[in-house]
Amino acid sequence: MNAITHHTPDAMLAAYAAGTLPHAFAVVVATHVSLCVHCRAALEAHQAIGGAVLDATDSVTVSDHLKSDILAQLDAPAPREVTYTRSGIYPGPVMQALEGKEPNWKTLGMGVRQSILSSNQEGSVRLLYIPPGQAVPDHGHNGLELTLVLQGSFSDETGRFGVGDLEIADEDLEHTPTANQGDPCICLAATDAPLRFHALLPRLLQPFFKI
């Protein structure tokens, strides 16, 4: 595997630690951290700062019964919690978004497929499957788009992105990501607003496919 060269910006890691990233972006950042030791170390640095802030917070006296209440519950069975772990090319956070199931691929034409993991007003996160040599239709963004490669690679006007690389595209970037030769390119892509496609057909399909 080639080394990861495109990382999560520091402000996003801080916001992820603090829990203020929109859900769609948090899925991508958690997935990137699962793949990237550099960003895991950086995230742990942010957690250390958060811990220092917590330690320096002014204490507020807790109710007398709180401690005994908690101690009394230590032996109670823990609520069942489902945890998801990596499966194939999909790290735990993707499996969590898939709820442990296989991706539900829907064709977008030209061999391109997508599987929507979640979509609401806050944004959307999906898996994209792009055959070698195929381009994702030319699009701009309202807001930010995060694209993380899970298999294969793609290139666009800004560079080459291999497994683990994260591309951050703001609304000024009009780009045409094209899958490179080799394995089909599978990406995890998130936006905090709907994409705008320029080609006529994809634009007509946009409401239908929620892209």
Binding site: P9, D10, A11, M12, A14, A15, Y16, A17, A18, G19, T20, L21, H23, F25, A26, V27, A30, T31, V33, S34, V37, H38, R40, A41, A42, L43, E44, A45, H46, Q47, A48, I49, G50, G51, A52, V53, L54, D55, A56, T57, D58, S59, V60, T61, V62, S63, L66, K67, I70, L71, Q73, L74, A78, T85, R86, P91, G92, P93, Q96, A97
Partner: protein
């Protein structure tokens, strides 16, 4: 914390409670929760600390950093009614001996970090607090050009570089 993790020591857990519960309550109330709701979240966080103690790794984090992330995760899970995405855990090498020098290094780096935080100007400190209390978006954090985030983080760089090497070794 290690006594809680390794021998399920209730007195040690009581000591953790005495240290963290009042701070957690203050921390959670600063994010706008009532005293009553804050105590419910404190209870939830402390029980999570007990139940997930086996996941605490002193080679990589001090207790406060670990408790901080649990507190933010639980606050968000409770508010949104779904679990937030969490990175894959790094599996510790089974049977690997604790490395006292690495644990000490994490403590020292954290000490330096606290020192660095305490010497900030009040307005810078306030921005840091806001960011880690979850009151700023990533865009707002990114726009804080006067924020000495990089400087602060560079103080714990040494420990992190070591960490990075170890993680790489674990992956290979």
């Amino acid at each position: 914390m290690l006594a809680v993790r390794d021998t399920r020591d209730r007195d040690a857990f009581g000591a953790l409670f005495d240290h963290f519960a009042p701070r957690l309550k203050g921390f959670i109330m600063r994010t706008g929760s009532s005293a009553h709701n804050a105590e419910e979240i404190v209870q939830d966080v402390m029980l999570t600390v007990w139940r997930k103690a086996h996941m605490f790794d002193p080679h990589r984090a001090q207790v406060s950093a670990w408790v901080y992330q649990i507190a933010r995760n639980r606050q968000i899970d409770i508010a949104r009614k779904y679990n937030r995405p969490i990175p894959d855990e790094l599996a510790e090498d089974p049977g690997s001996e604790p490395d006292a020098s690495q644990i000490l290094a994490v403590e020292q780096e954290t000490g330096k970090l606290k020192q660095a935080l305490s010497t900030l100007k009040p307005e810078q400190r306030e921005i840091i607090e806001k960011a880690y209390l979850g009151e700023l978006t990533h865009q707002e954090i990114s726009d804080q050009t006067g924020l000495p985030l990089g400087t602060i983080k560079s103080r714990i760089r040494l420990g992190l570089d070591r960490l990075r090497h170890e993680l790489k070794a674990m992956r290979q």
